[in-house]
Symmetry: C2
Subunit: 381 residues, 2 copies
Amino acid sequence: MAVFDFEIKAIQGLARNGVLKTPRGDIRTPAFMPVGTAGTVKALYMDQVKDAGADIILGNTYHLMLRPGAERVKRLGGLHAFAKWSGPILTDSGGFQVWSLSQLRKMDADGVTFRSHLDGSEYRLTPARSIEIQADLLGADISMQLDECTDWPCTKDEAARSMQLSLNWGQRSLDAFGEREAQTLFGIVQGSTYPDLRRESAEAVSAQGFGGIAIGGLAVGEGHDAMCRTLDETMPYVPTHFPRYVMGVGKPIDLVEAVARGVDMFDCVLPTRTGRHGQAWTWDGPINLKNAKFAEDLSPVDERVDCAASQDYSRAYLHHLIRSGEYLGSMVLSWHNTVFFQDLMANIRASIAAGTFNDLRSELSARWADTKSKPKVETAT
Amino acid sequence: MAVFDFEIKAIQGLARNGVLKTPRGDIRTPAFMPVGTAGTVKALYMDQVKDAGADIILGNTYHLMLRPGAERVKRLGGLHAFAKWSGPILTDSGGFQVWSLSQLRKMDADGVTFRSHLDGSEYRLTPARSIEIQADLLGADISMQLDECTDWPCTKDEAARSMQLSLNWGQRSLDAFGEREAQTLFGIVQGSTYPDLRRESAEAVSAQGFGGIAIGGLAVGEGHDAMCRTLDETMPYVPTHFPRYVMGVGKPIDLVEAVARGVDMFDCVLPTRTGRHGQAWTWDGPINLKNAKFAEDLSPVDERVDCAASQDYSRAYLHHLIRSGEYLGSMVLSWHNTVFFQDLMANIRASIAAGTFNDLRSELSARWADTKSKPKVETAT
């Protein structure tokens, strides 16, 4: 297995600015990966994704194995050619969507059998099959080990059992991955919101021989504060030479606070999902263009963002487009949000390099404080 | 009322190649106008519409008066600024959509009262109100008189009554339009598929003092052959110095055959509507990318069309995107179709200029013969 060179260029506190070097191009970190679920970043042309400043995108194994099928993607030249993206691609293992989307899933010690949410047909995913799909068929530059997504909240016994299963599947994933010259594999830390389980998982996964370490099981309803607390309790046990990736995160304030805790990589559907439905993320916080107050607002979405989507379309026009269900409204807002997230990461990287990250963090975390996600259920703490 | 200079540069048979000169730019004819229903050509950026070669777009009075409201568009700077289109815009009168979309419409001699298909609220459209919306509030370069869309098929008595009403409304539209320096108004010929009514209407409308003449009441179910026959029976009575516009037409074969009968302008939702649902129009005829035979077809949509949409996306990828309901599939195919229709018009214009239109017509009409629309009902002929 290749271990991509990860050069850390500047550090401020726990925050790092670096470059992860892959055969398909450099990934400037901290990096936000736009999500190309089914071989497309929804409502964007790939040129827009690239021009936004994204160095890497994410593809979803679950979606692609169901449609058009991983073997078909392989026959069509692999995911890079299929989706017209020549830079690096990270694929997830499929585990998260099996947990969140599929029907009638049955877990066992060796993998998971489930039915497609599209047509009910049966599939099986094991650590080895997930690697085959990601690395051999889709051709991902970075593959993820298959893990079990633990429900949140859950008992400590359940979290421990699930964490051990993921650890076992991580080893099987490594064994299946084998020797590869130009592709790498990341392991995933689990353990829910239990500090000692997180530490145990982080230490064990970090010792297994992966090319990078992901923190899984976050952004599943625990809320912003518990996410930060879990990162505080986990990151010290992930050696600093690894690229460190928090999966499925998040809102701008989550990105800022996770970077402050030493995270290097992120992915989330938020920019495109919220954009499709009328929400724009700006330096002043999120705004919902559906709101009647924008009906005659001729100002742009956010003129501080250097992009036609952000500067050239009036809020009034976008309000009309979104209310009318017009494609262009979703297209422009998904585009703007994608650029905004990349601009945020570029600002974060520059501030770490300049030694001003703490100032940026203080300012943004205060400004965006009311966007913190709350826990989906109350728990005893 | 301004009468835009219409320079006819070349003639072959009845087909003409010319330029309609408007204060916002020249319109090369024969011209196909992309339809920007609600202030957006669906699923396209305006730059793509412009780069496709479109000189003018169409806006729908009915849609815009309901949402966002014509007065609101005026307050926001008019339709050109609102929709980010700086070239000429033609608006329809609203009559066609009142007839095809609205609820509970009540016609009287002075206009039509109807309920919005969006929320049931009541509106009234008269010749004067339609002109106010189009010319004063939206700011159209070319407005259309309000007319009554006659059902097809209909009795001759009904067609005659309806045609006379439209003639009367045409005069009221002219009176309401009054003197304008930079805007013009087109009249509309009706008469269903009755030759003598069409002649009567064409002669009367042509004498009323409009800046251009449209042929209405086609593409309403009569089918390709009846459309051609009606044009044969109508066009001789529309003086050749007018720009002549067939509303709501059509498929590529309709465009070719109507140009051969002396038509200069067209509009139709076909390129974007069919594109959204997976149909691509090519020089070899239409193909439906949803079809399973394209699932592993790595060829582009039509490499003879000089556009990234036509050349850079494999049919296999588009098949996947359309089947998956992904925005990008609709975006790329609407874009390709828009460029294809503009390319077709450019080829038609060049062939008339070169004296080779008859050859082009023979070739394309033969090649596309099986795409001719059939009548929606059988009628005695």
